[in-house]
Amino acid sequence: MTTRTFRNRLLASLTAGALVAAAGPACAIDQAMIAAAKKEGEVVWYTTLIVNQLVRPMVDAFEKKYGVKVRYTRANSTVTTTKVLSEAKAGRIVGDVHDGTDGIETLKHAGVVEHWMPDNWKDYPPEYRDADGYWIATHVYFYSPGVNTQMVAAKDRPKTYEDLLNPKWKGKMAWAATSTSSGAQGFIGNILISMGQEKGMDYLRKLAAQKIINASGSARQVLDNVIAGEYPIALQIFNHHTIISAKQGAPVDWIKMEPLGSTVNTIAVVKGSPHPNAAKLLISYMVSLEGQKVFQKAGYLPANPDVPAAVPALKPKEGHFKANVLTQKMLDTELPKWEKIFNELFR
């Protein structure tokens, strides 16, 4: 059934794509959906994105354009996913839209997200959308080490994963001890994918001897502590964060240590939500060219290939670096294994 629905939708959107091609991509959002969304009047967005940086400009732009009110609440992936699961279990759904770097597969297993894709999904490369047709990526993340430029001179910076094993960095490198892709587990996963199981494990054992500091906050906080000088090197941070901070004068830079790890931020409609059309309209808007430019302006890395990042060098093609995409499916099955390795070697 899933395959058939998918094929039907594929056909439908191919036709629709051909039809709207002449009219231009700005008209890609279905008029009937807009009318139905306006009738619903509002949408509740459970988000993991940062309110000041992105949620507020996005909501302002969307409300101005469609007159549909967005009510949002921000929390991390675990908390947001817990809320959606609990509401679905109780049959009293409040949230319409869910986004996050982690959690979408958990929600798919529970059958609580709707099988739906925005009309312009085919503009997105396959790794930035769900093959099963449940989610699409709003933007992408690339994980790299970050360095305090006052504490580590440019010539001394580690450039390869082997360089991280240099004894002079012992006890001076930190990562977030969270079991998400932006923490220690994501780093471990990227190593195993890049080097293979055997060589990867060998490398990780040597890395464990470097006494990596397990920070309890997010990757962003680890970077903040690098900026404050608590430790000179962070192993797994979001590369665009260093640009945002450096703009304010912070002594920080990212290291193009190849291959970088990468994940996407997924967005999906909650099944049986009270405002399904408004939810679809919000997502359609966010992945439209106009919506993607809001991400661009906020310093995020848009998933739509037609919208470059504000600092293009942060993305692989423009920045000339290799990256491993840690897919949602991979995270779903592999993360527990990476976590086990983390617990055995690094805690």
């Binding site: 991390n76 675990t78 908390v79 679905a88 958990t106 397990n214 309890s216 903040d224």
Partner: protein, 581 residues
């Protein structure tokens, strides 16, 4: 102990019974109400810990695997030892510093007493995340203390490593010290000083008097408080996560913190099993505690006799006592607040150093005052915290009275009102969320779900304040009212409530400030229409907006201080009326 028993005035009427005791139905009604509030989360915890969590977040087959995982963890022994060191150490620090301060402020003629109140009120109003972070900035590897030491000695290491067991213990102790001070100061304030005076007249030194009179009389309060702080430290998440985890000091709750905030999928079976184990530990502690307080009558200090407080004259020692107050003020308040002010003026996280002065900026304050988002947060939070504090104190004044008067079945009240101590905040949040999703009441997603969660979670604190306050009010006052024709409830309203006012006001204030800053309870319950300050602060902090957080935190702390001060001024004035001071 023997001395205090000898000094305790004999009860004129052994046991007073009113005809057609009104207290019976009040007691049972209250017990039923509290039970309906506090019992359902236990069922949720027990069931959650013994059944597999399914993909749909429901309960699957029966299992013991969550317990097995806890007991098979090779680090369990180490975690238990660390937990005990941490809990014992931090409660000792909180208790000793709180007791010393409370005694100096309430019983001596030392100068600078206002500083102690200022320290308490402001540090209780300071958001937790902010307070711990400022300590980490102060004492961290790059902080000014270690920086100065490196410059002085030319060494490249650190003088103090805060990411250690002692670091955790000191920070947690500092966090609880104001609480201990608040509770013990109400004990010392209403205590009858005539025993102390008698001891002094008989030629006892200040130290003798403290050791043989003051300390034994304060023992039930101290024991109650020690138990409370110990349990909270065993259950603490924030300090173990922020300070312990980076230093690889694992305590029992480290995994739970990660389970509930950072695992995907969230592991509630493990968290529930852990909470169930805590439940057992706490039940054992409560058992010993109730044995300890069985003969509480010994400790009554407010009686029908003349009641007037005269502070100790410490002579020249009053300046030493004043010095202690100043030290407390500087360490607990000035240093962290200075660090916050500095952070709020920086464009990004930076420790205090000369090269950073050129970066000073006011843009964080501009962001705080230029965004209407913050106003909503403030309104919601003030409402939820005030509503919860009022409800808790209303329930626990009655419960405390009935419990201390030992009327038949009252021990049930004490047990169930103290029971929510077993719920770590975030676990309580999960349970409350599930319960209100299941019952057909339109509370989920509104601010009231947070009020109810606070009401349940903070009932034990209200109970401690009223219980400790009640312990000191001798039965004979109500008996006198009874003889004069008052019903027990009239005696309660016209004698107990006014005498209890200082304890009630302290309790209200404490719960209000706690509700305003706590993160773990509302993190799962805050919806689009019920955003809370603490949750928003946590978001700011985890997302690299620590400097804006510092600015908002200081503004918020200032607001809390104004509220708390106003409250205290009113409270002390009405207290003064009740005590003829």
């Amino acid at each position: 102990m023997r001395l205090s028993r000898a000094l305790s005035p004999p009860s004129a009427v052994r046991r007073f019974r009113a005809p057609g005791d009104q207290r019976a139905w009040v007691g049972w009604g209250l017990a039923a109400l509290i039970a309906v509030l506090v019992l359902p989360p236990i069922w949720f915890l027990g069931a959650g810990s013994l059944h597999l969590t399914t993909a749909k977040f429901g309960q699957g087959a029966f299992t013991l695997q969550y317990y097995a995982r806890i007991f098979n963890d090779p680090r369990l022994f180490e975690s238990v030892v660390n937990s005990c060191l941490f809990a014992v150490g931090s409660s000792a620090i909180a208790l000793v510093s709180g007791a010393v301060l409370a005694w100096i402020v309430e019983r001596t003629n030392a100068p600078f007493k206002t500083l102690a109140w200022l320290t308490t009120v402001i540090s209780l109003g300071t958001p937790y995340v902010l307070y711990v972070t400022s300590w980490l900035l102060l004492l961290g590897r790059a902080g000014p203390v270690n920086d100065l030491w490196r410059q002085a000695t030319g060494n490249s290491g650190v003088l103090l490593n805060i990411y250690s067991v002692w670091g955790m213990t000191v920070v947690e102790g500092c966090l609880w010290s104001p609480f201990a001070f608040l509770l013990l100061s109400s004990t010392f304030r209403v205590g009858n000083p005539e025993f102390e005076e008698a001891a002094r007249i008989s030629g006892g030194s200040v130290w003798d008097t403290i050791r043989r009179v003051t300390f034994p009389l304060a023992l039930p309060s101290l024991a109650a408080l020690a138990m409370l702080v110990f349990i909270r430290a065993i259950e603490a998440f924030e300090v173990p996560a922020l300070v312990g985890l980076p230093g690889r000091v694992n305590v029992m709750t480290t995994d739970i913190f990660l389970d509930l905030t950072n695992r995907m999928p969230p592991d509630f079976g493990h968290a529930s099993a852990f909470s169930a184990i805590l439940l057992v530990i706490v039940a054992i502690l409560l058992f010993f505690y109730s044995r300890l307080s069985r003969h509480a009558e010994r400790f009554h200090t407010i009686t029908g006799k003349g009641y007037r407080q005269r502070p100790f004259d410490l002579g020249r020692g009053r300046w030493i006592a004043g010095g202690v107050l100043i030290l407390n003020f500087v360490v607990i308040l000035v240093l962290p607040i200075l660090m916050l002010i500095w952070t709020s003026l920086m464009p990004f996280f930076q420790t205090i150093k000369p090269s950073a002065f050129r970066l000073l900026t006011l843009k964080n304050y501009a962001a705080v005052f230029g965004t209407d988002h913050y106003l909503d947060l403030v309104q919601n939070t003030l409402f939820a915290a005030a509503a919860a504090a009022t409800l808790v104190m209303a329930v626990t004044v009655l419960a405390g009275w009935l419990t201390v008067r030992r009327y038949r079945g009252a021990w049930v009240l004490d047990q169930i009102a103290t029971m929510p101590l077993i719920y770590p905040g975030i676990v309580l949040g999960v349970a409350i969320m599930q319960i209100f999703l299941a019952v057909p009441l339109p509370i989920y997603g509104t601010i009231w779900i947070i009020v109810i969660a606070f009401l349940i979670g903070y009932m034990p604190y209200g109970m401690r304040y009223t219980y400790v306050g009640m312990l000191q009010i001798h039965r004979e006052l109500e008996e006198a009212a009874g003889v004069a024709g008052a019903t027990p409830l009239e005696g309660f309203r016209r004698i107990v409530v006014p005498l209890l006012a200082p304890a009630v006001l302290s309790g209200w204030l404490f719960i209000f400030l706690l509700g305003a800053r706590v993160l773990s309870v509302p993190i799962l319950l805050a919806g689009p229409d019920s955003q809370m300050v603490a949750v928003a602060m946590y978001e700011l902090w985890t997302n690299g907006q620590g400097t804006e957080l510092a600015a908002f935190g200081l503004v918020w702390t200032a607001l809390m201080t104004v509220i708390a001060t106003a409250f205290y001024v009113i409270g002390r004035r009405s207290g003064a009326g009740a005590f003829g001071r």
